[in-house]
């Protein structure tokens, strides 16, 4: 069948089940149901601290076919997923589904477990490195299910994604299971992505290298959700968790793109008191923040909030009074961690509060402007951030689709050509985010506004911004690169890309 972004998808996918096709970004937001949670209650006689991962796996009743979840705040410094899965393999358990909010190059040991059949399924919002390559090459038994950050929270809360055991990498934890991310060697700040796991998994295990006496203060994930606590030597490598600083790009082309994007924001009518804003941590998107900051200062504008993954740069904007508060789902650098710890206006949020389309209102819905990236964007404005043009998985939505759907103005910023490839194409290799939720594309050689935003086109008419059609941008790119031969792939389905509402927006096929 053909879904609403014109992608051919099967009605049934082996290892996934019946497919609900994507019908449109806002077609499936009305009533929703949350699932029941079964739990083992604790009495005053129970001790939560367990001596080893092996012991806790046994206590949780680990068996073949279970789903184990992990969160990714320790990013490419995470030791927890690998250490838990190593024990799982040692115990001879098979057919495990790993629900990790993101998978990084450090999780390479999973590849062996995939090949051995210990791991047969993966749910994730973003994956890069060897695991992504192995999945692309067809080693995983069942297709990987790629969620968005909000979509993962929705899947967990609705019961679509049932977690048997959630493992919470905990930079600090007390002996009764209260957790925070702001203290300890592996401090990572907000633990927003782990919150749905903690609330809805059958069993919740805190893995910590900083076991403190009760009660921990402050508490981010509380004792009421946590079954067991295990102390280990190290939960992660601080160098891979947060960088010392995240820097604005010095690349002149990146700066040019950022400046153009900031001008659209200025002309959009949204940049006024109460303005809200989100960017990623990339050098170019941070440069947009820098230019927006300049405009806000010049025009004496006081914004309401900035959200998402938080960088030191956004913290500076908070501290300078340019925003009232921050909503933080993960901290990208040490400055953000420090601020999250000390500044009351730097608030945490769960993945559900951030982007779940099936709750009573996510933060993304209140966003004015979102700055996004793209690996490819097509002439329908559909964006791919999941696969490279060679078909290999190299990313995923993360919050891309959630924020694009929520923000009043979502701007994709990218170079028109990367590595000799045109970025604007006829059809993206994989649709991650539907074009109907993208308002503008900004490149160094021109800006294209989605024709559905006639209001914005009108508004920008009197400006000297280089506005052109997305087809013209494509032609500009092709003029320099030539038409690349399309990578045709009819291999078996190795991945299912779920839109945030749980419908299937695209599938990923095995790289030949």
């Amino acid at each position: 069948m053909i879904n609403a972004v014109s992608k051919e998808i099967p009605e049934y996918i082996e290892g996934y089940g019946k497919v609900k096709p994507f019908e449109g970004a806002f077609k499936n937001i009305n009533k929703a149901q949350k699932t029941k949670v079964s739990l083992n209650c604790k009495s005053s006689f129970d001790d939560k601290v367990i001596g080893s991962i092996e012991e806790v796996l046994k206590k949780c009743g680990l068996r073949d076919g279970m789903t184990l979840s992990f969160h990714h705040h320790l990013r490419n410094g995470d030791y927890v997923l690998n250490m838990v899965m190593k024990e799982v393999a040692r115990l001879g358990v098979k057919d495990i589904k790993v629900a990790a909010s993101s998978i990084f190059p450090i999780h390479e040991p999973l590849v062996e477990l995939i090949k051995e059949g210990v791991v047969t399924g993966i749910y994730t919002n973003y994956m890069s490195g060897s695991v992504a390559q192995a999945v692309s090459l067809g080693y995983l038994k069942y297709p990987v299910i790629m969620h968005t950050h909000g979509g993962r929270a929705r899947a967990i809360e609705s019961g679509d994604l049932h977690i048997d055991i959630a493992f919470i990498a905990s930079p600090s934890c007390d002996n009764y299971g209260n957790i925070n991310g702001v203290e300890g060697r592996a401090a990572c700040g907000s633990l927003g992505y782990a919150i749905p796991d903690a609330m809805y998994a059958d069993r919740v295990v805190a893995i910590t290298d900083n076991l403190l006496s009760y009660p921990l203060c402050p508490i981010e994930i509380s004792q009421e959700y946590v079954d067991y606590v295990v102390k280990v030597e190290e939960i992660g490598d601080p160098k891979g968790i947060v960088s010392g600083t995240t820097r604005i790009t010095k690349d002149p082309v990146g700066l040019k793109i950022a400046k153009l994007a900031s001008k659209i924001i200025e002309e959009s009518g949204l940049l006024k008191d109460g303005f809200s804003f989100q960017t990623g941590a990339g050098g170019t998107t941070l440069a947009v923040a820098a230019y927006v900051k300049e405009i806000m200062k010049r025009k004496n504008i006081k914004g309401s909030f900035a959200a998402g993954g938080i960088t030191g740069y956004i913290v500076e904007m908070l501290e300078e009074g340019l925003f009232n508060c921050l909503f933080d789902v993960q901290c990208f650098d040490l400055k953000a961690v420090e601020s999250y710890k000390n500044n009351r206006n730097h608030q945490g949020m769960s993945a559900s509060m951030y982007g779940n389309p099936h709750n009573k209102g996510a933060v993304v819905n209140m966003l004015d402007v979102m700055i996004l990236g793209a690996t490819e964007i097509d002439t329908d404005f559909n964006v791919n951030v999941t696969t490279g043009s060679d078909g290999f998985i190299m990313g995923g939505s993360g919050g891309h689709s959630d924020t694009a759907a929520g923000a009043k103005l979502s701007i994709v910023t990218t170079q028109l050509i990367k590595g000799r490839l045109p970025i604007v194409v006829d059809k993206v290799t994989t649709v991650t985010t539907p074009g109907e939720t993208i308002d503008a594309l900004v490149t160094e050689r021109g800006i294209a506004i989605n024709p559905k935003r006639q209001d914005l086109i009108e508004r920008l008419k009197g400006t000297n911004l280089p506005i052109m059609s997305i087809e013209e941008l494509k032609s500009l790119a092709i003029k320099m690169t030539g038409v690349p031969k399309k990578y045709e792939n009819n291999g078996k389905i190795v991945g299912v890309v779920e839109y945030r509402d749980g419908t299937v927006i695209d599938v990923i096929r095995q790289v030949q």
Binding site: P252, V253, L255, K256, I417, E444, R445, N464, K479, M480
Partner: protein
């Protein structure tokens, strides 16, 4: 009038930078075959620059190629190869009167052979020796192709055996001399680049100083310098307002049949009108009107 506030150097051996040069907003791009390119890469850079000019779109930036000095083995080869693809101009390092005449001559022959319009390819002498500086008037006079002069202070001070400073007092004379000679022929006087990318304040002061002496533009060695150069060389709001009032007063005077008129109690004569006209034209080209 063509705006030539900024001339950005781009290494002639860097395809990535050359490909994006046109989007950076410089008035002129100088594709450099001289200092940026090692001796072992001179031929490949020449081919790269030639093909880039042939195929790439540099949008509103004019293309100037800095060739190697005519005293080296590469200079004439550069001209022969590059002139065929019709750059806007060539920048001639360590220029002398003889060099400019020689360039003029060879360009004339190439233009005839290729069927290009006569005098199509322009010249920018680079003044970077004491000999060149003292001859700058004659250097400009040596060819109708000369559209401007670029002052190269690093080599010049080296030749003079003196140190470059942040304040640039040591090049005061050179700036004045170049600016005055250029004005005599109504060609552009492009100031030497400011090399400390971390000293923003020093950079702004340096441009202001050059502008106040009569330099009309500045060379840039990093794209980040372009906006600042344009800002300083742009006419100020006050200048634009005053110029508008001068033009308005002139119109009123014409209507009233007055030959001479005054504004704010001061007499307005031809040079003031000319200046106001220039400012408005500059403002229009800079997108300020």
């Amino acid at each position: 009038m063509k705006l030539r506030r900024s001339m950005l150097f781009i290494p002639g051996n860097n395809p990535g930078m050359i490909q994006n040069a046109g989007v950076l907003g410089a008035d002129s791009i100088i594709l450099d075959l001289e200092d940026a390119v090692a001796v072992t890469e001179k031929d490949s850079a020449r081919i790269l620059v030639r093909n880039a000019i042939k195929t790439l779109d540099f949008y509103n930036s004019e293309i100037v190629v800095r060739i190697n000095p005519l005293s080296t083995d590469f200079g004439f080869e550069d001209i022969k190869e590059i002139a065929k693809v019709k750059p806007h101009a060539l920048l001639i390092p360590k220029s002398t009167t003889e060099d400019i005449k020689a360039c003029d001559d060879i360009l004339k022959r190439i233009e005839e052979y290729e069927g290009f319009e006569n005098n199509h390819i322009k010249l920018f002498p680079l003044i970077e020796t004491a000999y060149g500086l003292e001859n700058v008037y004659n250097i400009i006079k040596a060819s109708d192709r000369v559209e401007g002069v670029l002052l190269g202070a690093e080599d010049l001070t080296a030749d003079l055996g003196i140190k470059r400073s942040r304040e640039g007092e040591e090049i005061f004379y050179a700036r004045c001399k170049v600016a005055s000679a250029c004005r005599a022929f109504r060609v552009d006087a492009i100031d030497t680049p400011f090399t400390d990318l971390n000293d923003y304040e020093g950079f702004v002061e340096d441009i202001k100083r050059a502008k106040s002496i009569g330099m009309t533009g500045k060379a840039a060695i990093n794209p980040r310098q372009i906006d600042t150069i344009h800002d300083v060389f742009a006419p100020s709001k006050e200048e634009i307002e005053y110029a508008k009032r001068v033009m308005k007063a002139q119109e009123d005077a014409k209507r009233e049949g007055k030959g001479v008129f005054s504004l704010d109690g001061k007499m307005v004569d031809a040079p003031i009108i000319q200046r106001a006209d220039n400012i408005l034209e500059k403002a229009r080209l800079s997108g300020l009107l």
